[in-house]
Amino acid sequence: MNIFDIMGPVMVGPSSSHTAGAARIGLITRRLLGVQPVAAQLLLHGSFAATGAGHGTDRALVAGLLGMGPDDPRLPASFELAQEAGLSLELGKTVLRGVHPNTVLLRVTAPDGRALEVVASSLGGGRVKVCSIDGLEASFTGDLPTLIIRNEDRPGHVAEVANLLSHHGVNIAAMQLYRDRRGGLAVMVIESDQPIPAALVDWLRRCPGIVRVVYLNMGEES
């Protein structure tokens, strides 16, 4: 932990895990969708479900979906702002297996009908982790530029992506591989030290065998 994990963040209260972390999860989900959603279903698990209302966890998640950071003073008014912005909300509770006590399942829909499902946990001190995207395992924090690539589980895709990144001078900080079954769908989660150029992300989207590419850079406005 660096000293600004000890001192800070500046945040809307009352809880770094239940409020600040929740806002960050909402914001990451918005960035993963790439656009402000028109509909969102938020299902709280564990301690989020038990004490979330008193901590404003639900309001913080919605604030994040509207593009607010954990320090945005408008956070407590997010439900009203969502209504104004045409974001319809469905809030509930759920029980998930094998996850951190502070976990939420979000289902969001883009204006063009695209859907995205995210499971994410708040680990304390405002730090968060995305656990899965659209039902496929993933594990990343959003602290670094992150590339999530879904591809057919065939030889060569990992080498191809790693090559492209190295040609663009992008250093891989961490890389994870998952798949639903042999020869099925696979997911690469790549966290990099440098931002990934938009042209490279577009190129990856056109590669045969690559089904979907999501690029997350929390350091950039969107």
């Binding site: 932990m1 660096n2 000293i3 600004f4 994990d5 000890i6 001192m7 800070g8 963040p9 500046v10 945040m11 809307v12 209260g13 009352p14 809880s15 770094s16 895990s17 409020t19 600040a20 301690s47 038990a50 004490t51 209302a53 008193g54 901590h55 404003g56 309001r59 320090d71 003073p73 956070l75 407590p76 304390g124 001190g125 405002g126």
Partner: protein
């Protein structure tokens, strides 16, 4: 690389002030420039000032449990504490209530314990007309000691109970106060050690799981404890147990604490008949 012990922090600070050693270590750690680090810390101080200025006594928390008490602490009061200590008490409550009412605060080291540092720093700056620069230096001192506590023990109530939150904040604030008053690095370590010793074993038992009861008032205890422990250290009183060993003891006590007393809302005050009634009414 974070300091693994107070001993190594003081060793590094033989030829330079503690705050400067912590700042330089931060630059190495995050690969950043001095100016960037300083501006970020100064930004946290200005956010602490804004949080205090933002207080509105009419506000209530979503649960209805918190709000309005800091206003009762304005004015001369019953005359028991004297104006300076009374102002510290008021500042801690003000910040705690701002936090409970979903206003903007600075987690230091956590949101639940966010009242302790501003509660001692704001009144002291006002009383002694201190430049912001000295307070920002003190925040580096606090962060340096806090980093050792986080590394060797914990700053999370869910892991170590309230001793890890308000206890850590109090120990960090005690060291920061020693810096402001011109004390030595050794005195900072003694102040930190005594403050942590005084809160050893403090449990995290939030009623209804909310950061309100007893958290707001515990920030007052953390602030006043920091003040007394800095006074002890500045008067030449030493902790019999070295700071690092006290931090290790805090960890051992946290490990031995049952889950009911670590932020689950199932023990301590949360488990009293009234605590349970409040939780059920939510």
């Amino acid at each position: 690389m974070a300091f693994q012990s107070v001993e190594s922090l003081l060793l590094a600070a033989r030829d330079a002030p503690v705050w400067q050693v912590v700042l330089e270590d931060d630059c190495r750690d995050r690969g950043s420039e001095r100016e960037e680090s300083w501006a970020r810390m100064a930004g946290l101080w200005s956010a602490m000032q804004s949080a205090a200025a933002d207080y509105d006594p009419a506000r209530r928390s979503p649960s209805g449990l918190s709000g309005g008490n800091a206003a009762r602490l304005e004015g001369p009061g019953p005359g028991l504490c004297g104006p300076f200590v009374r102002e510290i008490i008021a500042a801690a409550v003000r910040n705690g209530e701002c936090n409970a009412c979903m206003r903007r605060i600075v987690a230091a080291p956590t949101a639940g314990a966010s009242g302790v540092l501003p509660a001692v720093l704001l009144p002291l700056q006002r009383r002694d007309v201190l430049p912001d620069e000295v307070i920002v230096q003190a925040l580096y001192v606090a962060a340096g000691f806090g980093q050792v506590i986080a590394t060797r023990a914990s700053i999370a109530g869910a892991e170590g109970g309230c001793q890890a939150e308000v206890g850590s904040a109090s120990a960090m604030a005690a060291a920061a106060l020693v810096h402001i008053m011109g004390g030595t690095g050794e005195q900072m370590a003694h102040a930190c050690a005594i403050a942590l010793s005084n809160t050893l074993g403090l449990v995290c038992d939030p009623v209804a799981g909310l950061v309100e009861v007893p958290c707001v008032n515990r920030n007052v205890m953390g602030a006043v404890n920091a003040l007394s422990c800095a006074e002890l250290a500045l008067s030449g009183i030493k902790s019999a147990i070295p700071c690092d060993e006290v931090i290790d003891a805090m960890r051992a006590v946290g490990d031995a604490m049952p889950a009911a007393l670590r932020e689950t809302g199932n023990g301590g005050l949360a488990a009293t008949p009234t605590g349970r009634r409040i939780a059920e009414s939510m």
